[in-house]
Every structure is written in structure tokens, then in C-alpha cells.
Amino acid sequence: MSNLNKNRKFERFNIHQRLQHIMMFTSFIMCTVTGLPIKYNHSWWAPKVTALFGGFDNMFTVHLIGATIMLASAAYHLIYLVVYPLVKREISTAAFPTFKDVTDLVHNMKYLIGLTDKPPQFDRYSYKEKFDYWAVFWGMAIMGGSGLMMWFPDIAATYFPRWLIESTRVAHSDEAMLAILAIFIWHFYNVHFSPTFFPMNFVWFHGKMSHELMEHEHPVELARILEEEKKGSSKDADTVGSKKPSSNLKT
């Protein structure tokens, strides 16, 4: 039976999601490299990094190109969130926070400190992944909003008082620091340095996850997929697919 084929791969991220992630991390690195010298302009290394770009004006242009790509990836994602369900005729609420995330967090804490030996059973997205996803929503609102207000101060000043525009610059610089630390410590641990994935979890590239990893990382989702496939194969082919999360499935 195909359901028990341990070599099969499960699609976790489709091509749109992978492209959005590639746009996001490319522009994130661009903006980090070109933004940190501005935040720490009095450090010894800031003029050296600036010189690598051939001066401040060039470096700042790269920052704005990065910003444009990042905003484009955000726009891509928001459009995708609306258009994809319309085309596919199905909507997924898997990324929404649920009460299970709270119980999973408590359960995981117990598991990690050794109060229980049974790890929490995650669905399609664990609470860690949901945190990362929604953190980007918050981050994009703060960074994109403040960045655009600084890029077009005259347009911003039609709507906002000056102290607000000045405050967003402070927010831009500090939220950037939060994002940089979160990405290069937390996210990099989860997808690079964690012994499970070192040197890298390649799911960002091919979008697929093995049966073994699914058992380990997303057992609830795996069980549901297999269950629904079983039901599906016992029914007529036409009746399948109305409620099935097809994006989860790939053989």
C-alpha cells in the first residue's frame, strides 16, 4: 500500500511559499548588511562596510532595493493568501493560533525539562512555526511601515505629525535589531544548528519532508493525511477533495 511507503515525500511548502521565503531571506540579508552600518555608524567597521559598496549612496540604494524586494514578498504573500484559496476552492486555517498551541507549549516545557517522556504531538504547524510566521507579520508592519514613512517623508507628513515619523525611525532601527537577533539566533537554531537539521533543513529549497521527519515533527498532520487517504481510496474518486487539505499531499 502506498500509505505505508516510508520513502514518500510530503509537500510542506508549495512553489509560491518557497519563492516568498527566498525573496524574504535575500532581502533580509541585504537590508541587514546595509542597515547595520547606519545604526552603528560610529563603529570601526561601519565605514569599512560602507566602502565595500563604494560609498554611502550606493549602500543606501542597495538597502532600498532590499526593502523593495521585501515589500514585494509581503505583497506576494498577501495576494497569495486571497487568490490561492479562490483558485484551489479550499481554505486552510492551519496557521491560525489555537488553544492547542498553548497546551503544546506547556507540554513541551514539561518534556524539555524532563517531567514527561512523551513529546507534544504537532499538527501541520507547531507553535514555534506559528510564532515565526506571525512575527514576520508584526515585523513587516513595523519595518515596512516605518521604512516607507522615512523613504517618503513628505507624503508621510500629509497624514502624520513629525514626532510620529521620528518615532518610526527609532522603531525601524530597534525592531530591525529584534528581527536580526530572532533570525540569526532562534530561526538559525531551528533550521540550521539544531542537531536534527544541521547543516540545514532543505525544505526551504525543495519544499518536501520525508515520512520519518513527518513522524517526528508533525505526527498529527501525518496521521490525518494517511487517514484521509484511506477514506479517499475507499470512496469514489469524484467525492474526494472537498475538505481534504490537498496542499499537504504529494507522492
Binding site: 552600518p37 547606519i38 555608524n41 560610529h42 561601519a46 565605514p47 560602507t50 560609498g55 554611502f56 549612496d57 549602500m59 543606501f60 516545557m109 518534556y111 524539555l112 525539562i113 524532563g114 514555534k128 522615512m150 517623508p153 513628505d154 507624503i155 507628513a157 500629509t158 502624520f160 505629525p161 513629525r162 514626532w163 510620529l164 521620528e166 518615532s167 525611525r169 527609532v170 522603531a171 530597534d174 525592531e175 535589531m177 529584534l178 537577533l181 530572532a182 539566533i185 532562534w186 537554531y189 539544531s194 542537531p195
Partner: protein, 285 residues
């Protein structure tokens, strides 16, 4: 037609040579005259004691010759110095005022602008303020386009903050303009882009570029539209819990604590995971 053209070329050529040789002669003339001054003032240790202070009288001739006035004779500016030893010698602010008077013999238009500025008005009142040489230097004056000029955009912040230090300097250094200029931006505003160079006036003066009514226009010289909101707020704020920097201060505090708390919790989470993995590995499970 052709012969007239040739004639024109020849005439222009003769004129160029004439002017050139005159200037060259004048400059060698000046150099010869200056040689006399430099017999004493070219000496590195040449100084005088005045009011218990040692005042250096050395002039770096190489630096002077590279300056924009390098071909002028010393007497162009030090016009009253005729005899050795010099008579009616003045010092400090008084010397500065005397020299500033000489600047206007050539730089008349600029001098008029300066007289109407806050610096010029204070000088007229006999108060200590910035004269020509305070910003432009004395024997090292260069065109503002020259990166070595004290009023070049790479050096102007340092020049102005010699006097305008503390709060003003601090707030500019923290601003985006200040950060960009410090890293070599050729576009971001320096002090003079908002305050002008020679016509600087205080913000209370209705003619000032930084008067409330004029700020929108001043900002719009770079930022396209003159928005009334540009004038609603303070440019030179610092991170203080009270005063104009208040919203920025609390924004900074909010994000600083948000960052500290978030990152600490995430690191604890990572440490716990590693702790569990370590225990499992040791138990061999």
C-alpha cells in the same frame, strides 16, 4: 570670414598669454614678498607671550601655498603690517574682527550676507561669535568642494560643532541626516543645508530658513512637497523622558524591552531543547 576667425583666435591667444604672465609675475612677486615674512613666520617655534599665553606665530608655508589664497601676498590680508617689529598688534577676537574687515575687500557680497546673519550681528555687538576664519580657517582656506576644506560637507559638522556642541551636536549625530553624512552621503542634509552658510538666523527671526513659517519650504528643497507638518515638531531632539524627545524615548524603551524579553525567552527555549537532547544522548535513547 575665415580671416576674422583667425584674427579672433590670435587675439584671444595673445590676451591669454598676457593675463597669464601678469598673474604669474604677480604670484612670483607675492612669493618673493612673502619670503620676507617667512624668515620669521616660517620658523616652527616662532611664538609670542601675550597675557601669559604662548601664541604660535608659525605659518605652514606648504599648507598656505596649497590653500585657495596660496598666491596672495601676506599683506593682502595683513594689510596694516608694514614695519618690523609690527606696530598696533592685536590678539584674539580683536584680531579676528580686524581680519574679517579685510575679507570684505574681495568678498563684499558674502560679507553683506554675513553682516545680516546672527553671527554678524553678534560680532557687531562685540560679542564672541563665529567670524570668517572660525569656519573657513585662516592660512588653510580651501574651496568648499575640496574635501580638505573646513566647510566641505564631510567636515562642516565638525566645524559647526566646535561651538554648537552638546545637545545640538548630539541630536544631529543621532539623526538620519547626521548618520548618513558621517558615512559619506552626498545627499543628506548637513548643518548648512537647513541653516544656510552665511545668512544663518535664529529660529525666532521670520527671515530665518528655520523659522516655523519657512521650515516646510526648507525641507522641501530636498523632500519634494512643503508639508506644514514638517514644522510641527522639533528637529534637534534627544532621547529624554520629557520634552520634544518624549515619544522617541518611549519608543526606544518599548522596543529595547521587547527585544530583551523576546530574545531571552527564545534563548531559554533553545537551551531547554539542547538540555533535553543532551540528557537523551547520555541515556542513549
Amino acid at each position: 570670414m575665415n580671416s576674422r576667425k583667425i584674427l579672433l583666435v590670435v587675439l584671444v591667444g595673445i590676451l591669454t598669454i598676457l593675463v597669464g604672465t601678469t598673474v604669474a609675475a604677480a604670484s612670483t612677486d607675492a612669493a618673493a614678498k612673502n619670503q620676507k615674512c617667512l624668515q620669521c613666520h616660517g620658523n616652527k617655534d616662532f611664538s609670542i607671550k601675550h597675557d601669559g599665553e604662548t601664541i604660535p606665530l608659525y605659518v605652514d608655508v606648504e599648507q598656505y601655498q596649497q590653500s585657495i589664497h596660496g598666491t596672495n601676498s601676506c599683506e593682502t590680508c595683513h594689510a596694516d603690517v608694514q614695519n618690523i617689529p609690527h606696530k598696533n598688534v592685536v590678539y584674539g577676537e580683536e584680531l579676528e574682527r580686524k581680519i574679517d574687515q579685510r575679507c570684505q575687500t574681495c568678498h563684499g557680497n558674502v560679507n553683506k550676507e554675513y553682516r545680516d546673519s546672527i553671527h554678524g550681528m553678534l560680532q557687531a555687538e562685540g560679542k564672541e561669535t563665529a567670524g570668517c576664519s572660525d569656519c573657513h580657517g585662516s592660512h588653510n582656506i580651501r574651496k568648499k568642494e575640496d574635501p580638505l576644506s573646513l566647510v566641505n560637507r564631510t567636515n562642516i559638522t565638525e566645524t559647526c560643532t566646535k561651538c554648537h556642541d552638546g545637545h545640538i551636536a548630539e541630536s544631529y549625530a543621532e539623526s538620519f541626516h547626521g548618520k548618513a553624512v558621517s558615512l559619506g552621503s552626498t545627499k543628506a542634509a548637513t548643518c548648512v543645508d537647513c541653516h544656510t552658510g552665511h545668512s544663518i538666523l535664529g529660529p525666532e527671526d521670520p527671515k530665518s530658513t528655520v523659522h516655523k513659517d519657512n521650515i516646510p519650504e526648507t525641507c522641501a528643497s530636498c523632500h519634494n512637497q512643503a508639508q506644514p507638518n514638517f514644522a510641527e515638531g522639533v528637529e534637534h531632539w534627544t532621547f529624554e523622558p520629557d520634552g520634544p524627545g518624549k515619544p522617541m524615548y518611549y519608543t526606544l524603551k518599548f522596543f529595547t524591552w521587547l527585544t530583551i524579553i523576546t530574545i531571552v525567552l527564545l534563548i531559554i527555549h533553545i537551551e531547554l531543547e539542547l538540555f533535553r537532547r543532551y540528557r537523551d544522548a547520555r541515556r542513549g535513547s
